[in-house]
C-alpha cells in the first residue's frame, strides 16, 4: 500500500488498464464523436487499412473466409497491437507497414473495432441479462430475511446518541443482614458519545442520592449507523466489567452470547477488548452495552471503533441513534469483484469463485433462518400452529426470493419437494433457503420469465435500481393492489423510495464511482513534504467529503450545481487547522465558510485533490484527465505513444506547469492535452494534499489558460471556480453526470432504453433545477418499466 507513489512514478499511468476502461466508457458515452481529437490519425489509418488489410480482414475486421480465421478483436493495448503489426503484417510483406504507418493503422483498428470499447459501441445496445452484483447480493439477502422481522427498516427518529439507564445501589441498612436484597435506584437518560472517566465517583446523574459509591451499572442501547461496507473493529476501553452486543436483536435474553463478554475486569487498569464484524454500509444495527463497577476503585468506559477507511476513534454522535432496530443477516463471505470493463460494475460474468461464494452465502443464510426461525415465522416453540406458520413462512420467503407470487402448483411443488413426509421441518427450511438463494430467479433479477410489464417485475426493478435490493412488503402490496401500473403510480412510489437509507447508501456508491475514490485506498504521502498528512487526516478528509456530498444531495434543493459551486467545507478542528479554515466550535465536523476564491465544491475538496496527486507534488495530468472525462464529460483517447512522466527528471527549478507543458508539447500529445493541461493547471493552486498554495519553485502559480469547451467555444480559465462554473453549467458535464448515475443505478447501458433517453433526461434535469433526487427518481421510473427481452429460445 505504502509503495504506491513509487510505482505510480515508474508506470505510465495513462496506460494502466483502469484508465483504458474509463476511456472505453467515455467512448461509449460519446459514440457520435468517438475520435474527436484524433481525426487526422484515424483518417490516415483508415486509408492504410483499406489498402493493406481490408482484403483479408474485411471492412470491419470481421475476417474474410478462406483468408483469415479470426475477427480482428482482442485484448492487447494500442502499443502492443502496434508492435504486432510492425512484426507480422501484412503477411510476407512485413516491412510494408512500420513506424508511423503502423501506428496510424493500429490506432484506427483499435478504435474502430478491435478494442472492447469499440466492440461495445458497435453492438446495438440492449438490456442485458445480468446476475446480482456483490452489493446487490448482500443487500438482497439481508433484506429478504429482514423483511420478516418486526419493525425492520423502521423509522430511527432524529435523536442521536444512545439511550442510557444508570443504576445505583443504596447502602445496606443492616450490615448483619448480608442477604438483604439490594435496593436500587434507576436514572434514565441518554449520552451523545460513550467516553467517560468516572474516577472514583458515581456518574453525575446518580450523585446526591445517598447511593453507595462502591457500585453502579449503566445500560446503553440504541442503534449504530455504518456508513461504509466493510470490516468494523469495535473497541471497548474500560477499567471495569461489561458486555457488548452488536447486531443482536434480543441481547438481553439469558443465554445470548455477547459480542464481547468482558464481565471480568482482570485488574482496575484500563484495558481494551476488541470485536471485528463485517457490516453492510448504509444500515442501522442494534447496539447494547452493559457496564458495571463493583468495589474497584476507579471506573471508566469508552466505546470506539475503527471503520473501513477510518482510524480508531470514539464513535461519533452522528452515527448513534437512541432507538433500537432489529438485527440484520450479514453475508460476510468474500465475493469476487464484479466486472468493470465498460466503466461501471455489472454482473455479466459468472465464475467458479462466484458460484462458491453465493453457495456459501446461501448456507449461511439457511443456518441463520433456522437459528431465528420462530422469530421470522412468528411462531412459538411447542405451539400447535407452529408447523403451519413455518410452512407459510417458507412459501412467503420463496415468493419474495423468486420475485413473484407463487401459483398453487408452485406452492404444491415446494411443499412436496421440501416438506415431504420424512423430512424434518428445519431440514426442509434449510434446503428451501439454499434452493431459493441459488435459484436463477433470485440471482438473475430480471429474467424474462412471464410478463416483463407485470407489477411485480416493476416492483423488483425499482428495488434493484434504487436500493440494490429486493422489493419490500410495501412495494409488493402496491403491486398486488394494482398500484404499480401507470407511470404516475410508479413515479409516486419511486419518489418515496428515493429517500430511503438504502437509496442514500447507493448514492454513496455512486460518488465512489464518479470520483474514482478507489484511488484513495492507495494514498501515501511523502512524510517530508507533507508531514501533516497521516491516516487520521485522511479519514477526516473522507468524512468531510461525504458529509458535504450528502448535505447537497439530501437537501430540499438537491442541486447538482452545488456540487461545484459551494464555497464551504465540512471540517473538524484538526482538519481546519491544516487547511487554514476557521475552527469549528466543538470537536465534531461543522460546515465552515471558506474563501470563495479558494474553495469551489467537490473539485477543490482536499480529499479528491489528494487522490489526484503524486506523493510529493501535484499532478496536473491526473487532475486534468479526471476533470475532462468524469466531470466535464469530454472524450479522451489513450495516448498515442507511451511516455513516462517523471517530474524528478526535469530541471528542478521548473514549476510543475512548466514540466508538464514541456513534456506534452508535441502535436500528437496536444491532441488530448489541449484540454487536459488547462484543466489540470487550473488546480495548481492546490498542493499534493489540497492545501491552497500561491507559489511553485518560488514562482507565483499561474492557473490561467485558454480552454476549448465541448461545444467548441474557447474560454479563459483562471482557476478552479471557472472550471466549476463549466461543470455546473455545461451540457456535456450534465450529460456525463446523468450517464454515470444511470449506469451506477441500473448496471445497463442508457441507450438500451431508447436512443434519446439521455437527451430526455438532460432536458428533464435542466427543467427541474438540476435536482439530483428528481433525477434518480426519473431514471428509476424509466428503467422500471422495461426489462430484459423475452426471446424464446431458437435451439
Amino acid at each position: 500500500m505504502r509503495d504506491f507513489p513509487e510505482s505510480l512514478l515508474k508506470m505510465n499511468f495513462l496506460h494502466t488498464p483502469r484508465l483504458l476502461f474509463i476511456a472505453a466508457s467515455m467512448l461509449l458515452s460519446f459514440a457520435l464523436t468517438p475520435y474527436a481529437h484524433c481525426g487526422d490519425l484515424h483518417r490516415r489509418g483508415a486509408a492504410i487499412y483499406k489498402k493493406q488489410c481490408l482484403d483479408c480482414h474485411g471492412p470491419n475486421g470481421e475476417a474474410v473466409e478462406d483468408k483469415t480465421d479470426d475477427p480482428l478483436q482482442g485484448k492487447r493495448d494500442l502499443v502492443s497491437l502496434t508492435k504486432r503489426i510492425v512484426r507480422t503484417m501484412p503477411e510476407d510483406e512485413e516491412d510494408l507497414c512500420v513506424g508511423d504507418e503502423a501506428h496510424a493503422v493500429a490506432a484506427y483498428i483499435y478504435d474502430a473495432f478491435y478494442s472492447l470499447a469499440a466492440r461495445a459501441r458497435n453492438t446495438p445496445a440492449k438490456i442485458e441479462n445480468a446476475r446480482l452484483t456483490a452489493p446487490q447480493y448482500r443487500n438482497s439477502v439481508a433484506d429478504l430475511v429482514g423483511y420478516f422481522r418486526k419493525n425492520y427498516n423502521g423509522y430511527l427518529g432524529e435523536e442521536r446518541g444512545l439511550s442510557a439507564t444508570y443504576t445505583g445501589v443504596f447502602p445496606k441498612k443492616d450490615p448483619k443482614n448480608g442477604d438483604e436484597k439490594k435496593k436500587r435506584h434507576h436514572e434514565k437518560g441518554h449520552d451523545a458519545q460513550l467516553h467517560f472517566d468516572f474516577g472514583d465517583q458515581l456518574p453525575s446523574s446518580l450523585r446526591g442520592k445517598k447511593l453507595t459509591k462502591n457500585e453502579f451499572d449503566v445500560k446503553w442501547e440504541g442503534s449504530i449507523i455504518a456508513e461504509e461496507t466493510g470490516v468494523y473493529e469495535f473497541i471497548i476501553r474500560t477499567r471495569n466489567g461489561f458486555r457488548f452486543h452488536i447486531n443482536k436483536s434480543i441481547w438481553w435474553k439469558e443465554g445470548t452470547a455477547a459480542s464481547i463478554d468482558g464481565q471480568v475486569a482482570p485488574s482496575n487498569e484500563v484495558r481494551e477488548e476488541k470485536h471485528r464484524i463485517f457490516l453492510i454500509g448504509g444500515r442501522a444495527y442494534p447496539v447494547a452495552l452493559t457496564f458495571f463497577k463493583f468495589k474497584e476503585k476507579l471506573a471508566s468506559m469508552e466505546l470506539l471503533w475503527k471503520p473501513p477507511h477510518g482510524t480508531l476513534h470514539t464513535i461519533p454522535t452522528r452515527n448513534l441513534y437512541r432507538w433500537g432496530v432489529p438485527e440484520t443477516l450479514i453475508i460476510d463471505t468474500p465475493l469476487p469483484a464484479d466486472d468493470r470493463s465498460v466503466g461501471y460494475e455489472r454482473g455479466t460474468q459468472v465464475s467458479r469463485a462466484w458460484l462458491e461464494a453465493v453457495t456459501k452465502g446461501s448456507t449461511i443464510a439457511a443456518h441463520y433462518v433456522i437459528d431465528n426461525l420462530d422469530q421470522l415465522a412468528k411462531s412459538k416453540a411447542g405451539a400447535p400452529d407452529r408447523d403451519k406458520k413455518i410452512k407459510q413462512f417458507a412459501l412467503d420467503f420463496a415468493a419474495l426470493a423468486l420475485r413473484h407470487p407463487l401459483s398453487d402448483s408452485q406452492k404444491k411443488h415446494i411443499n412436496d419437494t421440501f416438506f415431504g413426509k420424512n423430512t424434518k421441518l428445519e431440514q426442509g427450511i434449510k434446503r428451501l433457503v439454499i434452493y431459493c438463494l441459488s435459484s436463477p430467479r433470485f440471482l438473475y433479477p430480471d429474467l424474462p420469465i412471464g410478463d416483463q410489464q407485470n407489477p411485480y417485475r416493476i416492483a423488483s426493478r425499482l428495488a434493484l435500481y434504487l436500493w440494490d435490493s429486493v422489493a419490500d412488503p410495501k412495494l409488493i402490496k402496491a403491486a398486488k393492489q394494482g398500484k404499480l401500473k401507470t407511470p404516475e403510480q410508479i413515479r409516486k412510489l419511486s419518489g418515496e423510495m428515493s429517500w430511503h437509507p438504502r437509496s442514500k447508501a447507493k448514492m454513496r456508491g455512486f460518488f465512489h464511482h464518479w470520483l474514482e475514490l478507489d484511488r484513495a485506498d492507495n494514498i501515501a504521502k511523502d512524510k517530508k513534504t507533507f508531514p501533516a498528512y497521516d491516516e487520521t487526516l485522511q479519514a477526516d478528509l473522507r468524512n468531510s467529503l461525504f458529509l458535504y456530498l450528502d448535505s447537497v444531495v439530501w437537501s430540499d434543493q438537491s442541486d447538482y450545481r452545488q456540487l461545484f459551486l459551494a464555497d464551504y467545507l465540512y471540517a473538524n478542528p484538526r482538519m481546519a487547522k491544516i487547511y487554514g479554515l476557521k475552527a469549528p466550535a466543538d470537536s465534531s465536523f461543522q460546515r465552515i465558510q471558506a474563501d470563495p476564491k479558494q474553495r469551489s465544491g467537490v473539485i477543490t475538496h482536499p480529499y479528491l485533490l489528494s487522490t489526484l496527486a503524486y506523493h510529493n507534488s501535484t499532478s496536473p495530468i491526473h487532475r486534468g484527465v479526471f476533470l475532462t472525462r468524469n466531470i466535464l464529460g469530454m472524450p479522451l483517447k489513450s495516448p498515442p505513444t507511451a511516455n513516462k512522466f517523471e517530474p524528478a527528471k526535469f530541471d528542478p527549478t521548473l514549476t510543475m506547469r512548466e514540466k508538464v507543458a514541456g513534456m506534452t508539447r508535441s502535436k500528437a500529445c496536444m491532441a488530448c492535452h489541449v484540454s487536459i493541461n488547462p484543466l489540470g493547471f487550473s488546480l495548481e493552486h492546490y498542493d499534493g494534499i489540497g492545501r491552497w498554495q500561491t507559489q511553485d519553485q518560488n514562482k507565483p502559480i499561474n492557473s490561467t489558460s485558454d480552454f476549448k469547451t465541448a461545444a467548441g467555444k474557447t474560454v479563459q480559465l483562471r482557476g478552479a471556480r471557472d472550471v466549476a462554473q463549466l461543470a455546473a453549467n455545461q451540457s456535456s458535464a450534465h450529460r456525463a453526470f446523468i450517464e454515470q448515475l444511470f449506469h451506477h443505478m441500473t448496471k445497463q447501458p442508457a441507450r438500451a432504453y431508447g436512443k434519446n433517453t439521455l437527451d430526455e433526461l438532460e432536458t428533464y434535469f435542466s427543467e427541474n433545477q438540476y435536482n439530483i433526487v428528481y433525477l434518480l427518481n426519473r431514471i428509476a421510473v424509466i428503467t422500471a418499466q422495461q426489462g430484459v427481452k423475452n426471446t424464446p429460445s431458437d435451439s
Binding site: G255, V264, K295, T363, Y435, P440
Partner: protein, 438 residues
C-alpha cells in the same frame, strides 16, 4: 456466530478438499497407530458427598459407595484418588478458585467479580493443563490433530466469569465450552452436512437454470449456460467431499435441533458425549473437556424428581438427610453420564490400533470442591478411568497425603507424554509430578 464463521472458513472449493481428506490427524494415525494417547476431563460442580463417594478400603479391594456404584463395570479400569488438595489461595471465593484454578493450578488475578465471601477476583493467571498438553501435541506432526482440543459443555450458561470457565488458553484467556450440540456438530461436520443440503437441491436447480435459459436470446443464454456448467462441476466436487469413506466413524446420528433448556439436559449430555467419542474416533482431537454445568450451578434436575437447585441443596447441613439423598442422586447422575462415556470408549475398538479406545484414553472426573456445604478445597474428588496406554495403575483406591493438585496435573501431563518440571503456581509443585503408574 461461531457456526457461521466456521462455515465461512470452509469452502466447497477444491482447495478445501485437502482439509477433509488430508487431516493431519489421519496421517498421524497411520504413522504412529499404537502409541495414541488421549485425555478427557469431565467436570461436575458443587462438591461431593464424601461418605457416599470415597471408598473405605484402600488398594484393589475397594468398595463402590453409592455415587461410584454406576461405574462398577469399570472397577478394574478405575483409580479413585483421595488426598488431592487444591492449595491455591488468594483472591476469589472457593467456588471461583475451585473452578478456575482446578485445571490451571494458578491463582486468580485481582478483579471485579465478587463471590459469596472473600475478595473479588478475575480470571486465572495461567493456562489449563489440557491446553498445555494440547499445545505440546499440536507442535508435533505425530500428535497434531485438526482441532487440537475440543471443549464440550452441558448446560453451561452463556456468561463468562470465573465460575463458568475452567479451561484457559493462557493468563486472562478463558475458553468457553460449546454447550450446544448443534454448534458442536456444525463445528465437527458442518461443511459436510451443508454440502449434503446443497447437493439435495441441485436437481431442481439445474432444471430451473435450463428453463430460464429458454426464455433468453443466444447471447444472454451464454451466462446461464456457463452457470450450469459450474453447477455441474461443483456437484461432482461436493459429492467427492461428502464420501463417508474418509471417516473411520460416521457422523453420529443425532438430532441436534434441541432447545437448550434445563429439562433437556439429559439428552444434551448424551449428544455431547456421542459427539466427543466420535470426534476422538475420527482423530479430530485427542484432548477434550466435558464441563457438566458450572460452579454454583443451580440446575433443577426434574428428571431425577428433584425440584431444588443444585447449589442451594449443596449448602444444606450434613444432618439434612433429605438434601443429602438428593445430592447423592445428583452425583450418581453425573457418574452415570461418566459410565456412559466410559462404556462408549470401551465398546469402540481403537481405530487402527490394538485394544479399545478406552485403553488409549485417560478420563479424569473431578469437581471444584471437596464438599459442598463446607466449600473445602481439600480432598477434591478425582476418579481416573482407562489410560492403559498411559501406564496408569488402575483398579485401586489410593489415598495421597495432602498432595497439591498441581502435582496431579503434572502427573497427568507426564502420562500423556509431556513431562513438566512445574505447572501453575510453582510453590505447589514441590515434589514433582504425582506418580500414577505402578
Amino acid at each position: 456466530m461461531q457456526r457461521r464463521q466456521f462455515i465461512r472458513d470452509l469452502g466447497f472449493s477444491a482447495a478445501a478438499l485437502p482439509f477433509l481428506t488430508g487431516l493431519p490427524g489421519l496421517q498421524a494415525a497411520s504413522a504412529n497407530p499404537s502409541g495414541k494417547k488421549r485425555l478427557i476431563i469431565m467436570f461436575s460442580p458443587n462438591g461431593t458427598i464424601p461418605d457416599a463417594f470415597w471408598p473405605k478400603t484402600e488398594g484393589s479391594q475397594f468398595e463402590l459407595p453409592p455415587i461410584l456404584e454406576p461405574l462398577k463395570e469399570f472397577k478394574k479400569e478405575m483409580l479413585v484418588l483421595n488426598g488431592i488438595y487444591n492449595q491455591v489461595r488468594g483472591d476469589g471465593d472457593n467456588h471461583m478458585r475451585g473452578m478456575s484454578c482446578l485445571l490451571t493450578g494458578s491463582h486468580l488475578f485481582p478483579g471485579n467479580i465478587q463471590g459469596g465471601s472473600d475478595t473479588p477476583a478475575g480470571w486465572a493467571s495461567g493456562l489449563s493443563i489440557d491446553q498445555e498438553i494440547r499445545n505440546h501435541y499440536q507442535k508435533n506432526a505425530s500428535t497434531k490433530t485438526r482441532f487440537g482440543s475440543l471443549e464440550f459443555g452441558v448446560a453451561v450458561p452463556n456468561r463468562a466469569d470465573p465460575w463458568t470457565r475452567m479451561v484457559y488458553a493462557g493468563p486472562n484467556k478463558p475458553i468457553a465450552p460449546i454447550a450446544d450440540p448443534k454448534q458442536m456438530l456444525d463445528k465437527l461436520y458442518g461443511n459436510k452436512k451443508d454440502a449434503k443440503s446443497v447437493i439435495s437441491i441441485l436437481d431442481p436447480l439445474r432444471d430451473d437454470i435450463k428453463r430460464a435459459s429458454t426464455v433468453l436470446g443466444k447471447e444472454d443464454r451464454h451466462l446461464l449456460d456457463e452457470h450450469l456448467t459450474l453447477v455441474r462441476q461443483m456437484e461432482s466436487d461436493l459429492k467427492e467431499s461428502t464420501k463417508e469413506t474418509q471417516l473411520s466413524h460416521p457422523v453420529p446420528d443425532i438430532d441436534p435441533d434441541i432447545e437448550l433448556l434445563n429439562d433437556n439436559t439429559p439428552q444434551i449430555s448424551r449428544m455431547q458425549i456421542d459427539l466427543l467419542v466420535n470426534s476422538m474416533a475420527n482423530d479430530m482431537t485427542r484432548i477434550a473437556t466435558l464441563q457438566q454445568m458450572r460452579s454454583v450451578g443451580q440446575s433443577r434436575m426434574h428428571w431425577l424428581g428433584i425440584d431444588d437447585g443444585h447449589h442451594g441443596l449443596s449448602h444444606e447441613p450434613d444432618d439434612n438427610q433429605a438434601a443429602k439423598d438428593k445430592l447423592i442422586k445428583i452425583n450418581r447422575w453425573f457418574s452415570t453420564e461418566l459410565a456412559y462415556l466410559t462404556k462408549k470408549l470401551k465398546d469402540t475398538p481403537e481405530p487402527s490400533g490394538s485394544g479399545s479406545m478406552l485403553d488409549h484414553t485417560l478420563i479424569v472426573w473431578t469437581n471444584e470442591l471437596g464438599k459442598g456445604n463446607s466449600h473445602t478445597l481439600d480432598n477434591i474428588p478425582f476418579v481416573l478411568i482407562g489410560g492403559k496406554a498411559h501406564g496408569i495403575k488402575t483398579g485401586r483406591y489410593l489415598k495421597a497425603d495432602k498432595v497439591a493438585h498441581n502435582r496431579l496435573l503434572m502427573g497427568i501431563s507426564q502420562s500423556m507424554g509431556h513431562p513438566l518440571k512445574s505447572f501453575g503456581d510453582a510453590k505447589h509443585c514441590e515434589g514433582g509430578a504425582f506418580k500414577l503408574s505402578a
